[in-house]
Assembly symmetry: C2
Homo-oligomer: 214 residues x 2
């Protein structure tokens, strides 16, 4: 009946997905209540089980759905080519948090599955995760093709790149501590990116040669 689910009215379909993703993310598979899901999706119990065979079927559908989203909306957009490493990290940070902003439930769901449910998944799905997420995290961290002559002469590019990478991670980690998961939708991303750009300028000031016109 999943093909029928996919032909459903967009708003209703997304309501069901978002509600289910949130409940599974909040409670984990075992403690997730189908009653809460239908309540949050504003549908009746019967409707949920009309489209999905059972709780498990719904769960695995959500995983497939979420992996597609993260692939198409984030991983496939990762920039590996820009030579200016700070610019590249800027691009990738923005791509990443645009995905967070657009699909907060997907991101929240995948995080908790990855963090605390992975061992309960079928081997098949464990591999899907390993392949897609973990290798692509490495992709993102793979810092080759750095334009080294942008750095000041007394600074070693690889070491500096590592510090830049970690400090950006710290920047968002600090941010994550300020905003809780369910507040993501309320964040004012525009002013946030302005602040982030300023932070990047500071990084350039410290690590890069001063910009010179010729």
């Amino acid at each position: 009946m999943i093909d029928k689910f996919e032909k459903l009215d967009e708003e209703k379909r997304l309501n069901i997905l978002r509600s289910a993703l949130s409940v599974f993310a909040d409670k984990g598979y075992q403690d997730a209540s189908t009653n809460k899901i239908v309540e949050g999706a504003d549908i009746s119990k019967g409707t949920l089980f009309y489209y999905f065979k059972n709780k498990e079927g719904l769960y695995y559908y959500l995983i497939d759905y979420s992996l597609e989203i993260i692939k198409n909306e984030y991983i496939n957009h990762i920039d590996h080519t820009t030579l200016d490493i700070i610019k590249r990290m800027e691009n990738n940070s923005k791509i990443k948090y645009q995905y967070f902003q657009k699909y907060p439930e997907v991101n929240y769901f995948l995080s908790t599955v990855l963090y605390s449910e992975l061992e309960h998944l079928s081997v098949n799905y464990q591999e899907k995760f390993q392949d897609l997420i973990q290798t692509s995290v490495k992709k993102m961290k793979n810092q080759q093709n750095i334009q080294e002559n942008l750095f000041k002469d007394n600074i070693k590019p690889e070491k500096a790149a590592r510090i830049i990478e970690l400090s950006i991670e710290g920047y968002f980690s600090e941010l994550a501590n300020t905003f809780k998961q369910h507040q993501v939708k309320d964040i004012d991303f525009d002013t946030l990116w302005e602040e982030f750009d300023e932070y990047l300028d500071t990084l350039r000031e410290i690590f890069y040669k001063p910009f010179e016109e010729e």
Copy 2:
């Protein structure tokens, strides 16, 4: 009956505390099962309710207990005085993660209370949290008394300090992604600190003047 609980055999007492902290941290107050707690603590149902009036009493006892621990084992040891800012951050990181290592359940419990249960607490306890944790986080972040002449001449100390701070946060955030909460006990902290010391050396190389003997 809490005074009797505190006179209990050390091992038994800690078993109960650790089990309760873990279950509350994993599931949150509502979904935490007293059955799971007694099972994990290897005691009978009756014993738990012999020492604690009810689930709520146990929960608030755990909060008081945990706040005492984090105060005595972490917050009171925060270094505000060392002038070498990298050294100061090194000290504070080590104090912080020694507390993590020694009391993983306390840390895990307090994190989840702070992160997702705070609004359900009595106002009294909300204030306790605000006072103790949030203001002391600020304390730790308060970077005054920096010995500025350690920095290279072309680097602004305040901005550099911010980057150092964030990159250390990123360093541990990356680490936290590698190890899940329940694996904390298995981490080899000794080699980990060695790596961290190397990382700090890199920071010094980049931000500080080369060391000169006279």
